[in-house]
Structures are given as C-alpha cells and as structure tokens.
C-alpha cells in the first residue's frame, strides 16, 4: 500500500479536472485574443474560468482575477507590482517571518533594491498578533503581505483583523492563500484584503496555473510586459486549458467543503493521537486549533527529519520535512525557527498533509509503519548498532 500524505507539496490532478481541460488542449485550441470563432471559443472558456475563481473568492467582479503561472508568480506580482507602483509614496513593506519563500525571497530582493522590510515575529504556536501589524505600519509603508495559512504548520493568521488595520491606515494588504484556497471558506471582502494569491496544483488542479485577486483601485504594475492580456496586468497568451482546470478544481473543492474539512480534521487528529499514544517524545508544532484541517507538523525527538522522509518513502509513504521547495537546504525550517523551537526539535520535524484521496486505512498504515522507524532511529542515534539482518 502506497500512501501519499504530502498534499501541501502538490496534489494529483482530479479526473474531472483533466476532463474539463482536455478539449482546450485539443480541438478548442484557439488563442483568446483572436477575433475568429476559435478565439472566441477560447475567450469564453477563459472568462468563465475567471468568473468561477472570482465567485470562489466572494468577489463580484471577475476582472479582479489575474491568471498567473502559479502561486509564486502571483506572490511576485503582488509584491513587486505594488512596490513598483507605490514606491513614490514610500519604500517600506511588512511581512511575517514565516512567509513562503515566494514572498520571503521576493521581499529580500526588494530589500536589495533599497526597500525596507519588516519581518513580524510569531509566537511559539506560530500565531501572529494583529497588534504587531498595527505597530509595524509607518507613513511610508506601502504593502503588508501576510500568509493566510502556513504551508509547513497549517497555522492560520487572522487576516480579517489585519485587513481592517491595513484599511484604516490606507495600506495595501496582500495575502498568500495558496494553502487555504479551496480548503476553507474564503471571502475577499470579509478578509478585507486587496490582493490574494492562489494556486492550481495544491487543489487537484494542474501545475503552472495560479491567480492573483486584485481589488479594484489597487495600484500595481505588471511584471510581465508584452500584449494586453489580463487587462495589461500579465502579458502572454493565456493558458486557457490550465485556467479551465483551475476553475474546475476550485468548484470541486467548494462542493462539500465543510464535510471534507471535518473528514480530514478527524483523520489528522487520529494520526496525531495514535502516533503520540504509540511513541513518547512526539510534539505537535503549531497551534492546536487555529490551523488548516489537513496539515500537521510533528516533532519526533531523537530522530532526524530527512532520514524519516527517506525511511518512510522506502516503505511507500510520502511525507516531507518542511516545505518541498526547500528540501535539501542546509538551513533549518525558517518557520519552525521563527516559532522559537529548539534546533533539535526543528531537525526532527516532519509534515503530514492529507488530501482528497486520504483514507482511514492509509492513516492506519502510517501509524503502523512510523513508530518502529522512529524507535530504530533513536536506538541508532543513541549509539546502539542494530543487529545485522534486522529489516523494516
């Protein structure tokens, strides 16, 4: 039995999504900018997809949606686009210390260009105090970018409260909602955000597509220059099939969203509780309730994350240590480090992220396989050599 519990890294394409996309990869191949029937057909599909994404975010105006090549590009467009457009007003931006690298490294790039970047701290459970946002905003602040749900821990930031603070101060607020989109109800008006990033492949959609919600009136410049596609906010022939796929994937996520969240939260709790019952020295990283239903980040004392990932993979179980994008990086998880967790705990932490295909049997398999692996690692790390011939 193979068990994939790394859905925050990526998800399999839903068959319904593939079915929705296929015509636009084959017979309906038109360029949405063309005048003729082929173009019109593609244009229609693209705009329907745009409307579906807007609707999924509670936005009335479909033109608030800009399709991008993924969540990372959406984050880049938000940060670089606002910074470029509003730098005359000020060159200060605020982010949190636990942002995804798409935001963190883009902010670092802006810092190299002369912007000042404030990194807001989080507490030991990964939560961010909205008062920190209030205190960080200055007259020259042009953008606050705070993620909705953390990709490593699943911890949620109270974006709505931060939105009100930013609105009061007249500062643009961006949220990276790549991990929460489709999994939790999202409403751009309730959250009071000006910009929101989302991605297709985290919700059983295709890779290579994402979107940025841009509230009307938000001053932003494009990153990609060329034609007038996406109302001149993102040049380049639109990826129609992927946009259609993204829209279909979003629709599927919204159907029975509440029930699925409950189902995944139950499976996740079962995973956590059974592991903690089977093994001493298992700690959960992140707030117990203020988090996504399908993500858990657990520290296994005396074990090492990268080795756990390998050992589990050899048993057919896919998990990750930290974010997939930073696997193999020498630095410990910046998210867990920002929570003030000791280095040994960070080094022994792995992330499980459940998804649509996750079954109770799969969870049972994980809790059957993992404890003996951890125990063996603890024995080895304590200097005890396992008897030759012992196999997992």
């Amino acid at each position: 039995m193979r068990v994939y519990v790394d859905h925050n890294a990526t998800t399999p394409l839903a068959p319904e999504v593939l079915a929705a996309m296929t015509p636009y990869l084959t017979e309906r191949f038109g360029n949405p900018s063309s005048l003729h029937a082929w173009g019109q057909e593609a244009r229609q599909a693209l705009e329907r997809a745009r409307a579906a994404i807007a609707q999924a975010l509670g936005a009335i105006d479909k033109d608030t949606i800009v399709f991008t090549a993924g969540g990372t590009e959406a984050d880049n467009l938000a940060l670089l686009g606002v910074a470029a457009a509003q730098q005359a007003r000020g060159r200060h931006i605020v982010i949190s210390a636990v942002e995804h690298h798409a935001v963190l490294h883009t902010a670092a790039y802006l810092a190299r260009l002369g912007f000042e970047v404030t990194h807001l701290p989080v507490d030991a459970q990964g939560l961010l105090d909205p008062d920190e946002v209030r205190r960080a905003i200055r007259p020259e602040t042009v953008l606050v970018s705070l993620m909705h749900a953390n990709n490593e821990t699943g911890v949620l930031f109270p974006i709505g409260r931060m939105g009100r603070i930013c609105r009061e101060r007249g500062v643009t607020l961006h949220t990276d909602a790549v991990q929460s989109f489709g999994k939790l109800p999202l409403d751009v008006d309730g959250l009071e955000v000006d910009l929101l990033s989302l991605s297709g492949h985290k919700i059983h959609g295709p890779k290579g597509i994402g979107a940025l919600f841009v509230r009307r009136g938000t001053t932003m410049r494009p990153l990609i220059h060329g034609g007038t596609q996406e109302r001149s906010r993102r040049a380049g022939t639109e990826n129609v099939a992927a946009a259609v796929g993204l829209a279909r994937a979003a629709e599927l996520m919204l159907q029975g969203q509440e029930g699925e969240a409950k189902r995944l939260a139950d499976l996740r709790d079962r995973l956590e509780l059974t592991l903690m019952a089977a093994l001493p020295g298992v700690l959960r990283n992140g707030h117990p309730t203020e988090r996504l239903p399908h993500t858990t980040n657990l520290a296994f004392a005396g074990a090492e994350a990268e080795s756990l990932v390998v050992a589990l993979d050899l048993c057919g179980i896919g998990v990750s240590s930290g974010a997939a994008c930073s696997s193999g990086s020498p630095e410990p998880s910046h998210v867990l480090a920002a929570m003030g967790l000791p280095r040994e705990r960070v080094d022994g932490s792995i992330r499980f992220s459940l998804g649509r295909g996750t079954t109770p049997e799969e969870i049972d398999r994980v809790v059957e396989v993992l404890p003996p692996i951890v125990e063996r690692m603890r024995r080895v790390n304590a200097g005890l050599t396992p008897a030759a011939g012992v196999r997992a």
Binding site: A303, E304, E306, S307, V310, A311, D313, L314, S327, G328, S329, P330, I373, R376, M377, V380, N381, T385, P386, A388, G389, V390, R391, A392
Partner: protein, 374 residues
C-alpha cells in the same frame, strides 16, 4: 560473480555520480540485493555565479544528475541528501585549518570516516539498512583467528584507495562493502559499458573533489583573512624574501618560492607560530623517523611491540620498509630503513604488514618533525 555477503538487510550505496560507485550499485542490484542509492549533495544549491557550476567532479551538481540517472537505469530507489553543512564542518574546515597550520591535509580521510561511513552509515541504519557500499578500491575481510574486520589493498594496485580508508573503525569496517575492490579499473569500465551505464566513459575524479583547480585560490576565498605574508628563511636563519602565507606551501615544494639561489631550494618546513616558510637544499628534505598521531589500528587491537611494516606517507608513495614503535596514547614512531623525502605533516601515514603487504595494520596523521635540529 557473487560477492560474499551475509546480509539480508538493505544496502545504502553512496553514489558520487562516477563510474566506480555506479558499478558498485549495479553489482549489488544485479544480485537481487535490496539497494538504495544515496548521493551526498555537498555543494550549495546552484546559484548563477556558483564556481561549482564551472567544473564537474565527484558530488558536483552535474554528478548528482549522473547518479540519479544511473539509479533510474538500475531501477533502484535513490535519494539526494543534503550534506552541505556536514561536509563543510567535517571536511572543508579540516582542510583549510590544516593548511593554516602549515600541514598538508588528506580531505578524503575524514570524508570516508566521518561522512560516508560515519553519518551516512548511521542514517542508513536508521532506515533499516545494515551496510553502506561505496565505489572505493579496497577490500575487507575478517581475520579467521581474532575475528577482526580487516582492510586490504585493492586488486588493482594503481587504483588502491586503502590509504584513504585507514580511519575506519571495526564497526565501520563490519558495515562497509566495496563491490569494485576486487576489480581492475578497466573491468569496472567494461561492466559499466555492458550495463549501458551513461557514466562508463566518465573520467576519473580528481583527488580533491571540492577544489576546482588551484587549492590556493580556494584557500584565499575560504580563509583569506587568516592568511598573512611572512618571511622565507633557510635552515641557517638567513632571510630569503617574502612568502604569501604558509597555507600556500607544501613541504617538498620547489616552484613558486620566487627566490633565487645557486642551489635549488625546497620548502622543508612551515612554521605557523612564526609564520615562516623554511627552505633548504634537497638533502635537508630527507627524514628517517616520522612521528604519527591519532593512529587507528585495524589488523590488530593494540601495538604492544615494535612491528615491521611497509609505510606509505602520501597517496603516490611506494610503501617503504620501516619499524613501527608504539608510543604513549595513540602515537606511533615510524623508523624507516632508508630516509624518505619530503614527509609532509598532516598527510596520512598508513602502514601495511611487512609479511602481508596487502594488509592495512593501521594509520595516522604525520606530525610536524623537528627538522631544523638535523
């Protein structure tokens, strides 16, 4: 051929991306053994300006790709593990510190004993593996009388790497496998060709895999602040000009001193305390006695009495007859029958049994000798 194996556990094969470790993995996989390929990524993630991109050696980014494609061709699981920090700590820091101390390091020695058969072995045990295999040219066996795990020279004398493996403990030797150790290099390449492995014709890697071309430029980049110019003096105390830093010289070196003299002058000593490079004539380079520190014994548990050995003082050195005298602690004094030229402190001295020249008795690190008193 079948390898003598009593393991039924998984075997982790350290795959550098070269032909030797590829064939090691292939030989084990061909026997139906449960093999998992591991590549240690010792380089920083690629950046456009990375010097690592400019050359191709063991464990460089291009080699990681080679290892991956070999594993795929063999149909074995393969993982690239990040060893950047550990490699830096255990190998590169040792390497630079040795040069700063006026010594000539053997970085492959700690890479083998601390990384491949140290941290990788213990990780592999964590995954349930019982062995770590590499593409080293060396052989291991067991003493039928004492039960000790022994290290022997490879079948191919020109490729023998036992010199770099002398630091392995009994536990490490019990767990290591060298599947190509009994092959001639040409046979290894033939097997690689037969198996259609893409790395079959890949050139042999350099001795120091992480130094692109010139170790001096590398040292300047890594530890430039700690390197200071100083005086070049001869053994009589006469100054002969200036040097760029003791780290840039090796005992026996003649070129690059930038000093004129009627007799050819060689580096005969490097003194980090006074930051002086000591030069002298060829005859002053010859030493009969060498003291060796941090000795690891393999064939025997203890050296209780002087033993006749064949001692090798650098990789390219032909082992020379000597007597090994045990000293206090983990030191040994080697008294060579004939004086040896340019013995460089920091290099490994590995001693082989005089009666069984294939057998590694043990080895250690050459200490700085008191040359000036000669």
């Amino acid at each position: 051929m079948t390898l003598p194996l009593e393991t039924d556990g998984r075997i982790a094969v350290a795959m550098s991306g070269g032909v030797d470790s590829a064939v090691a993995a292939a030989l084990l996989a061909r026997q139906g053994l449960p093999v998992v390929g591991i590549t240690l990524r010792i380089w920083p993630s690629l950046r456009p300006t990375d010097p690592a991109q400019r050359f191709d050696s063991c464990c460089s980014p291009g080699s990681v790709e080679d290892a991956r494609s070999v594993a795929q061709a063999l149909g074995i699981p393969h993982y690239v593990l990040n060893y950047e920090a550990e490699f830096d700590r255990e190998v590169i820091q040792y390497f630079t510190q040795a040069y700063l101390n006026g010594e000539t390091p053997n970085p492959c020695v700690p890479c083998n004993s601390r990384l491949k058969f140290g941290s990788l072995l213990s990780r592999a045990r964590g995954w349930g593996a019982t062995r770590v295999a590499t593409g080293h040219y060396g052989r291991v066996d067991r003493d039928p009388v004492t039960g000790r795990h022994r290290l022997r020279r490879a079948a191919d004398p020109r490729k023998d790497q036992s010199y770099f493996l002398y630091g392995l403990t009994q536990d490490q030797l019990a767990a290591c496998l060298f599947p190509v150790g009994h092959l001639e290099k040409a046979e290894t390449r033939t097997i690689a060709r037969e198996l259609g492995l893409a790395v079959a014709e890949k050139p042999d890697s350099q001795e120091i895999c992480f130094v692109p071309r010139d170790y001096r430029a590398y040292l300047r980049e890594r530890a430039g602040a700690a390197i200071r110019p100083g005086v070049i003096r001869d053994t009589g105390g006469t100054a002969h000009g200036r040097h760029a830093g003791v780290a840039f010289y090796t005992v026996g070196q003649r070129r690059g001193l930038g000093i004129g003299s009627p007799q050819p002058l060689y580096v005969i000593d490097l003194d980090p305390a006074t930051n002086e490079v000591i030069v002298g004539e060829d005859r002053e380079l010859w030493t009969r006695e060498v003291e060796v520190d941090r000795v690891n014994l393999i064939a025997v548990e203890r050296l209780d009495a002087p033993q006749r050995v064949l001692a090798k003082i650098r990789y390219a050195h032909t082992p020379a007859p000597a007597t090994a005298f045990p000293l206090a602690g983990d030191r040994v004094r080697l008294a060579f029958d004939d004086a040896q030229r340019a013995v460089a402190p920091g290099q490994a001295a590995v001693f082989y049994d005089a009666n069984d020249p294939e057998l590694v008795v043990g080895g250690g690190t050459i200490l700085r000798q008191c040359k000036i008193s000669h």
